[in-house]
Every structure is written in C-alpha cells, then in structure tokens.
Subunit: 328 residues, 2 copies
Amino acid sequence: MQDVADLAGVSLATVSFVINAKTSAKVSEATRARVWSAAQELGYRTNRAAKNLVQGASTFIGLVADAIASTPFAGQIIRGAQDAAWQNRHILLVANTEANGEAEQDAITMMLEHQVTGIIYSTWYHREVTPPAALREVPCVLVNCYAADDSLPAVVPDEVQGGRTATQVLLDRGHRRIAFVNSTESAPATTGRLRGYRAALAAAGVAEDPDLVLTVRPEQEGGYEAGLLLLGLPTPPTAVFCYNDRVAMGMYDALHERGMRIPGDIAIVGFDNQEVIAGHLRPPLSTIALPHYELGARGVRMLLGGDGSAPAPGRTIVDCPYIPRHSL
Amino acid sequence: MQDVADLAGVSLATVSFVINAKTSAKVSEATRARVWSAAQELGYRTNRAAKNLVQGASTFIGLVADAIASTPFAGQIIRGAQDAAWQNRHILLVANTEANGEAEQDAITMMLEHQVTGIIYSTWYHREVTPPAALREVPCVLVNCYAADDSLPAVVPDEVQGGRTATQVLLDRGHRRIAFVNSTESAPATTGRLRGYRAALAAAGVAEDPDLVLTVRPEQEGGYEAGLLLLGLPTPPTAVFCYNDRVAMGMYDALHERGMRIPGDIAIVGFDNQEVIAGHLRPPLSTIALPHYELGARGVRMLLGGDGSAPAPGRTIVDCPYIPRHSL
C-alpha cells in the first residue's frame, strides 16, 4: 500500500480511504483515479485473508450440496444461488459432498474457518434431512430439503400444488379417467403429488378409481411398465399424470409401441420439466416445473436478509408452475 | 489455544504440535487424544484465515467453470475434481461463471485473494478458449478446453479415438454402409469424430460415401430429421454413428415411427454416454463415453503435482471408452 501511495504521490491514509471505499472521505475524483491507476500498475491486490481476520466476515457464501453439481438434475439450484450471490457481491463456494457425512462435516468446518457469511445446505431432490449440528453456528438456509422439526429456515417446492395443477390441466381438457403413475419411493414428492391429484379430482366431483393409481420405480423403465398395465385395463384412462418426466418418457415408449397417439388417444402430463427430456420427446411434453432456480435464488436472498437479521425458522413453499407443450 | 492447553493440562507448545500435526514431535497418543478432546469440548477451531496469512497458501483449489455445475451435461467433471481434491486434503471451490467475462475475472480475483493452491479452468463442452490473463498468476490446468497456442497445461478428451472406436465397433459387426450424423457446430468434437470415422473406414478398406455423412443440429430434433433423410436414400445405411446421444434419441424416434427395428434393421452407436438418455432409450444405447470424471480428477492431480512443481504446458489427451449396450 505504501508503494501505491508513493507512485500515486499521495499519503498512505488516502490510499486506504480510496481502496476501502470510505465514501465520507473528501478525496477528489482525480486523486481516486491516480490511486487506482497506481494500484493497477503495481498489481496491488487487497489481502482478503487479512481483511477476513480483521472483520470476521468474508464475501463467501457456502453451498453444501449432496450431489447437485454432479448430477444432471437440479443444476438450476446452483445457477439461482450463484446469480443471487453475485447480485449481492458474494461468491458462491460450492462443496459437493455426495451425501458423505464426513465430507459434509469437513466442508462445513472449512467454510466456518473461512468465515463464510452463511451456508446454503441443499439436496438434489426434495427430502427431509438431519442437518449437521455445525450448521447452527452460522446463518443457514436449507434449500430443497427441511429439518424434521422445522427448526431451521427452509425453501422447498410445493408438491401438493404441483400435483393439483397437473391434474387440473387434464380435467380442464374434459378428461375424467385420469391415471396417476406415482413413485414407489418414500419422499415428499410422492405423498404431496398424490394429495394434489386427489384434491383436484375431489374438487371436480370425480371419484377416485384405485385401478388408475399405480406406483413404479420413478424411471423410464417404470413408466414403460405402467403404460402396458394401463393399456391392459378393461377401460384404459384417457389421460395420465406421470410422477416425473422420466416416467413419461417410458409411458411414451409403451404407447407408441402399441400404436397409440399422444395426445389424440391418451393425454400425458409430466413433472420436473427435466432438461434434455421434457422439451425433446415426441410430442414435446407438457409438464410441471420444479422451481430449482427460484429455490436457489430465494435461499440466498433469505440468507443475506434485508436488514442483516438471521432468517426465521420454518418452511417457505415455492410454486411449481405448469409448462404447456403438446402432450395434452 | 491457551484454553485448550489449560483444559488438557499440557503446554501451549504441545497443543500447537498436536493441532498442527508436526509428526516429528514426541507426543504420546494419550496426550494427543487429551488435546483433541479438549479442543473439541471448547469448540476450538484453527483460524484458517490467520494460517493463510502466515503461510501464503490455503487448502482451496478453485474451479472456474462456464456452466458445468448448472447444466445437465458434464457434472462428472466436478465429481472427479472434487474426489481428487478431497483425496489430497483440498476443498474444491466452484465458481460457475456462465461464461460471463466479468464474473470470470471477479471469481479469479477473489480466488487469488483467498490464496488458492491453484485453479482448474473448465468448460462444459470441449473447446478452444482464450484463458483470462489472471490465470497465469497461479498454477492452473485447463480441463475440457485448451489455449490456442497450448501455452497452458490442459486435459481434453480424445475425440479422434472416440470417433474411430464408434465406427470400428460397427465395422466389427460386419457393417459396411455406416452413416455418420455429424454436428453443424464448429468444435473439436465435430472435426475430431469425423477424422476418427474416416480413419476407421480407411483402415477397413471401406470407401467413404458422401451421401452417408450428414450434419444436423446436435439435438433430438436434428437426429429425427437425419433419420428420415437416411431412410429416404436409394440404399439406406445398415448402421448409424450419431454425433451424440441426443441425436441418437431423435434417430430412434424416426426409425421407430417408420417401423424399423434397432438393431435388427439398423444398428446405432451414440457418443457422450449422457446420463438420463443413453441407458434409458429402447433399446439401451451403445455409445462412447466422454471421460468427464477422469478429466476432472486428472486436472486436479496435475495441478497438485507429485513433486510440487508446476504442471507442464500442452495437451494431455484422455481416451473415450466404448460403453456396450443393446443398439448394435
């Protein structure tokens, strides 16, 4: 800093005022420009480590993720968190722990040692978690997951509304025999989407037919099997709400193999709006989007707060919007 | 640290020896255990910021990525880099810049301020880049990309070998009329895979038929169009090498619509081994894998080196392995 002062021909105090952006200081624009020019020429770089030490706060936000960065599913959580962090002049430090407890603990410890402003703890699919105790040492927001006792702030998708919307768009087209191909896995998505399906049917005065609710592995293969089962019913459905887009992909395969047209013979709606699949099936799949980008962005905004206060415990629920394409 | 010493009943020097893992110190196992127990009880945490300041080095590795963490394509680069970093007791700091030059510059500046051991600069698809000048201030390895003048160390996939292998597995099944549906985009993958296709045909004494080499948008839609075109030829091919798995997905749709069986009527080989698609088409797609995990892991190992020396400039090429499934 002394070198910068010498080159710019100003006092050390002036350099410090300019570099640290103390706006109250009466330093002319010309002097500021001279200081920055000298700093640039000398390759001066503020020593962030020293600043952290003094101020006890960095411009990092930590994102501890189980597998978001490495799976092809929920990458938009990172994009949303990253954008919100950058907008607030924070850099997002992502640690992908593969749900390994030790790696998770180490990552959080190192983030705390590096004095992050806060930590986003996130999972690649919506689920209940037991957050590591260390998370409570720093402002923290759970994204796409929640604590069993809701003792930490969390942002999660509204699975019930998503399931209701998926069923409603089919009801709106006049369908009454609507199947729901659900997942065999225990998850908030499984119970929530089923509740939404039932709520929409009930509101429309349509009695639920147990034959039309199946559970399969939530993959292409499960959707294919479900398609063959549904076509084998005495009265097949005229529309199918698929648990996710991968199941819809398999449903397409089964229907196409049997010479059925989509949506002419059977209408389909998916869930997830999964990249690579949803917009690229034939016909392109109408689906419900998981609001991954919004979950990430909302989580960071809650973490940073408006007034510097810690975010409040409890779940914030984000809508799952309908994405119309050509399958109904 | 003094509190830890008091609680453990040892000297400050002993605590320092134990905490900083100076193995030459003659401290008994029992004493070590007592120190760690006291440290844990007191919530003692080494102040990494202070250590960085003193040592001028942290245990961070920076990963500056254009969009790897947020797209469903090359996430295994992060998984590979992360695993290699953890194995070497470094934490991977991921900054996803969306290829925004300013964000990239800011991310690199902050990483340098935080004194990373080195930086991995990586792209979600294989391409030539103009690396930011700031990268040259720190050990750096390019992953899945390279500098035009090869002045920086880089790890990239072997596109030529991949294209040759894809063609060879079809030749090995007796096919001689093998189409190549290439991409319209200018990229090392486009030129490299074409070179490999030609080399394999030439080595087998098969003359190239220009009618059998098409270029399309490298997506499902392009593959579908190419499928219809190839089926319209006076003598259609008996096998198709598709530029990527998304093209193969569209090729499947076109062939299935026309009642063709895969591989009975036409054999297909893809490229990328893209999750969500390759293993889940009907039939599952035989393809060439992009070695994303290996690229990320290799990049970090090169960065950290065996002997602490900086990695050497120039490209390291990694094989693209064949993944047999059921489409040929």
